[in-house]
């Protein structure tokens, strides 16, 4: 059995004064003092090598943490955080007593056009060289989904409305203000039909979770799967890897879920791929259970420090079960969904009160 001993998050936002290692230390120092020394560290990051011109963060982090634990860096695109949790779980299952999983990443050291360019490194080479962006992949998905399921621009905007409203009561969230449908519909276009308020903000942040084999109030289980990276080879209105991972997880019914909504459309598709809503009907689920879907505000409003996001989700699930999270309050089960480029890979984590 794998348990979560504790979790810490750094406020998501713009932190020019903090390096990726600084933020990772801010959350991990107190966590190690609370839970004990880890035997291994799994460090998730993706954009930081481009942002900081340095690519050995985990090692410097371990030096400053003053530990002799084994150190590993895990990268799986924007799903790096989920991948790190998944590997951390396997290390505990393999016999380690404590494994520290930390996600830390940056997007704000340069003007946002740099982050836009750096994020194109997620996309397969033959699809990328035209200037295909992270947003444009989601935009193609939105085109197909909206046409196939007859979803209006106004309906799609509801995603941002709910996410912003959920984030208001979450202290570490980046965008803690309400937005109205009209504002979403009239925000600047970033890649048609997606607009600024459909998109994740540019975020810096770090989150840490201590996994342990010692009995603790929250139990953790992961399931992961991969599908296709190449955009041309997928059904963009569905995340196959998410569907497959959910089958492996074998859980039906959760109290709340954090899905990987880098853009509004990805949130809807994720809910359907998880089997929580019928295809084309995620918007109805969102309207029925707004507080239970991305109670943190999701990537959309809590923010999206790329390689760290999946670790944030698990830290939030831990909070939701142990003390309550934002408008959701306290629950006894929680599912997190982290993906690499809109479902090329999916890393699911299921948290349950013991």
């Amino acid at each position: 059995m794998v348990y979560v001993c504790g979790a810490k998050v750094y406020p998501v936002g713009r932190h020019y004064d903090k390096s990726v290692v600084d933020m990772a230390l801010e959350v991990s120092g107190p966590l190690v003092r609370e839970c004990g020394e880890p035997e291994a560290i799994v460090f998730a990051t993706y954009l930081s090598p481009f942002q900081e011109d340095f690519d050995n963060h985990a090692q410097l982090f371990a030096e400053y943490l003053g530990t002799d634990a084994e150190v590993y860096t895990v990268a799986s695109g924007d799903g790096s955080g989920g991948a790190a949790i998944s590997l951390g779980e396997k290390l505990v299952k393999a016999g380690y007593k404590r494994v520290l999983v930390v996600g830390s990443d940056k997007t704000n050291d340069f003007h946002s056009k740099h982050a836009v360019e750096q994020l194109t490194t997620l996309i397969a080479p033959y699809e990328r060289y035209y200037g295909t962006t992270y947003s444009s992949v989601h935009a193609l998905a939105a085109r197909l989904y909206m046409k196939r399921f007859n979803l209006s621009r106004e309906e799609l905007s509801q995603w941002a409305v709910v996410m912003h409203s959920n984030a208001i009561d979450v202290p570490h969230a980046q965008l803690r203000f309400p937005v109205k449908i009209e504002k979403v519909c009239s925000s600047n276009v970033i890649s048609e039909p997606l607009r600024l308020l459909d998109a994740h903000p540019f975020s810096d942040g770090a989150a840490a979770v201590m996994l342990t084999s010692e009995s603790s109030p929250v139990e953790l289980r992961t399931a992961s799967a991969s599908s296709k990276l190449t955009v041309a080879n997928r059904d963009l209105t569905f995340m196959d890897s998410t569907y497959k991972a959910m089958k492996k997880l074998g859980v039906d019914g959760v109290d709340a879920v954090e899905v990987h909504d880098a853009f509004s459309i990805a949130g809807l598709i994720a809910l359907e791929s998880l089997g929580l809503a019928e295809r084309g009907k995620a918007i109805e689920l969102l309207n029925e259970r707004p507080k239970e879907i991305n109670p943190s505000g999701g990537l959309k409003a809590r923010g999206h420090p790329i390689g760290a996001t999946g670790v944030y989700q698990v830290a939030e699930g831990f909070s939701a079960i142990t003390e309550g999270l934002g408008r959701l309050g306290k629950v006894s089960s929680f599912l997190t969904h982290s993906t690499n480029l809109m479902g090329a890979s999916t890393y699911l984590t299921y948290l349950k009160e013991v």
Partner: protein, 129 residues
């Protein structure tokens, strides 16, 4: 690779002033910007390292990174400062360094961004005459 203005700015305390963070309790040192000692939780204090020291070991770098081609060859030294702490830094204004050579810190240009023209400065060490 682009030089990050944010990174240069946050690294200034060390690269311009040899300022480190020191834990008053466990004496661990950090270069960066954290509030509490990650090890023991005590509030960290800023401390400036001495600007003088001596060369412990040095190397002449002939095969240099592209951005440093204008400065080639580079002399990189391991320097022991007056309080016993050590730093790795570039040796400047020197024809041929030697072990035990007395040096002092001096701010120099270390890198120029080809695209933006942004210049990165850092403390280097020169012989004390």
């Amino acid at each position: 690779m682009d030089i990050s203005p944010a990174r240069i700015w946050r690294e200034k305390p060390f690269s311009y002033r040899l300022e480190v963070l020191e834990c008053p309790k466990c004496k661990r040192r950090y270069v960066g910007n954290v509030e509490e000692c990650p090890k023991c939780g005590a509030k960290l204090e800023r401390k400036r390292l001495p600007r003088k020291g001596r060369v412990i070991a040095w190397t002449k770098v002939v095969q240099v990174p592209e951005f440093a081609e204008d400065f080639a060859p580079l002399y990189i030294g391991l320097i022991e400062l007056e309080d016993g702490s050590r730093v790795v830094a570039k040796l400047v204004d020197v024809v041929e360094p030697s072990d035990g050579m007395e040096v002092e810190a001096v701010l120099r240009r270390v890198r120029v961004d080809g695209q933006t023209g942004l210049i990165e400065y850092a403390l280097c060490f020169r012989p004390i005459l």
